[in-house]
């Protein structure tokens, strides 16, 4: 493990970016609740998650098959989401009040 030490990131810098991202999303949420702002907030959350994943969980130094695992997992969840949209969001045959 120690041989990979030099690949480690500057944790304080990553932390700084994360805090800044949090501040930005809070500021955005205070400004408006429109769909674009919500989308921006989730985009920022994704960036934050990406930073934690790569620099704190060290995905950046893992072998390729771990990266494939992460991408595959997200793909699986995306498939689940897309497959369910017609039935759960649009609700075919929806009744009044349901």
């Amino acid at each position: 493990m120690s041989e990979t030490t030099e690949h480690r990131s500057n944790y304080f810098m990553v932390f700084g970016i994360l805090v800044a991202a949090l501040a930005i999303s809070l500021a955005l949420a205070a400004v408006s609740t429109g769909p674009i702002v919500v989308a921006a907030i989730f985009a920022i959350a994704t960036v934050k998650a990406y930073l934690v994943l790569t620099h704190f969980i060290h995905l950046n130094v893992e072998p390729r098959f771990i990266k494939v695992l992460v991408i595959g997992l997200l793909a699986v969840l995306t498939v689940l989401y897309i497959g369910l949209v017609p039935d759960i969001v649009w609700v075919f045959g929806r009744m009044e009040g349901a």
């Binding site: 493990m1 120690s2 030490t5 480690r8 944790y11 304080f12 932390f15 994360l18 805090v19 949090l22 999303s25 809070l26 949420a29 609740t33 919500v38 907030i41 989730f42 959350a45 934050k48 998650a49 934690v52 994943l53 704190f56 969980i57 060290h58 893992e62 072998p63 098959f65 771990i66 695992l69 992460v70 997992l73 699986v76 969840l77 689940l80 989401y81 369910l84 949209v85 759960i88 969001v89 649009w90 609700v91």
Partner: protein
């Protein structure tokens, strides 16, 4: 596994990835699948119910924001603990782990304050589906926080004795995942109102 090794050298493996880290990756994958399934379900049902924005405005944004900050800081502490292990400073690593546990306690305390506040305001898990999802998701996340804290106390004790130092990284990876889950829960349940 002997007491003499200060910094454990992981067993040679076919992929160069130590068994423990490999297993933690798969464990994290299964956790993501569980939380991911829950989040997918929540997002879908929420999109079907635009009126939930109203309910979400009753969650306490400030508490959620502080908790995000708390978890981010605790993540920094635990990654520094891992760095300390790599540098051979086991005493420091142990202390940093306990710091992380302390942040976990702060997180739970704030969460408890929120729950009390919300329950007093009459928002119980059966008030409506939004609150069911809210309590289920934050509750499940809270259980993961508690589990992580217990694990970190155990690891911090053994690291102080010079054993199982590789476990610092494992418990850290898990803790970061708990952090990532919160990074998404915060906008999902608090901000998007």
């Amino acid at each position: 596994m002997t007491n003499s090794a200060i910094i454990e050298q992981p067993m040679e493996t076919a992929t160069e990835l130590p068994n423990s880290r490999m297993a933690i990756w798969w464990f994290l994958a299964s956790e993501v699948a569980i939380f991911g399934g829950l989040i997918v379900a929540y997002v879908l049902v929420r999109l079907h119910h635009p009126e939930w924005g109203e309910y979400a405005s009753h969650t306490i944004n400030a508490a959620g924001a502080i908790n995000t900050m708390v978890l981010l800081t605790s993540s920094l502490a635990v990654v520094l603990a891992h760095q300390a292990v790599e540098e051979g400073k086991l005493e420091k690593a142990s202390k940093l782990l306990l710091t992380t546990v302390a942040f976990g306690l702060v997180f739970l305390a704030i969460k408890a304050y929120e729950y009390t506040h919300e329950l007093h305001a009459g928002f119980t898990p059966v008030t409506n589906l939004f609150w069911s999802f809210y309590y289920l998701m934050t509750g499940l996340h809270g259980l993961h926080v508690v589990g992580g804290m217990i694990a970190m106390i155990a690891v911090s004790r053994s690291v102080r004795r010079g054993e199982h130092s590789a476990r610092v990284e494992c418990v850290g990876m898990y803790w970061h995942l708990v952090d990532i889950v919160w990074i998404f829960l915060f906008p999902l349940l608090y901000l998007a109102s």
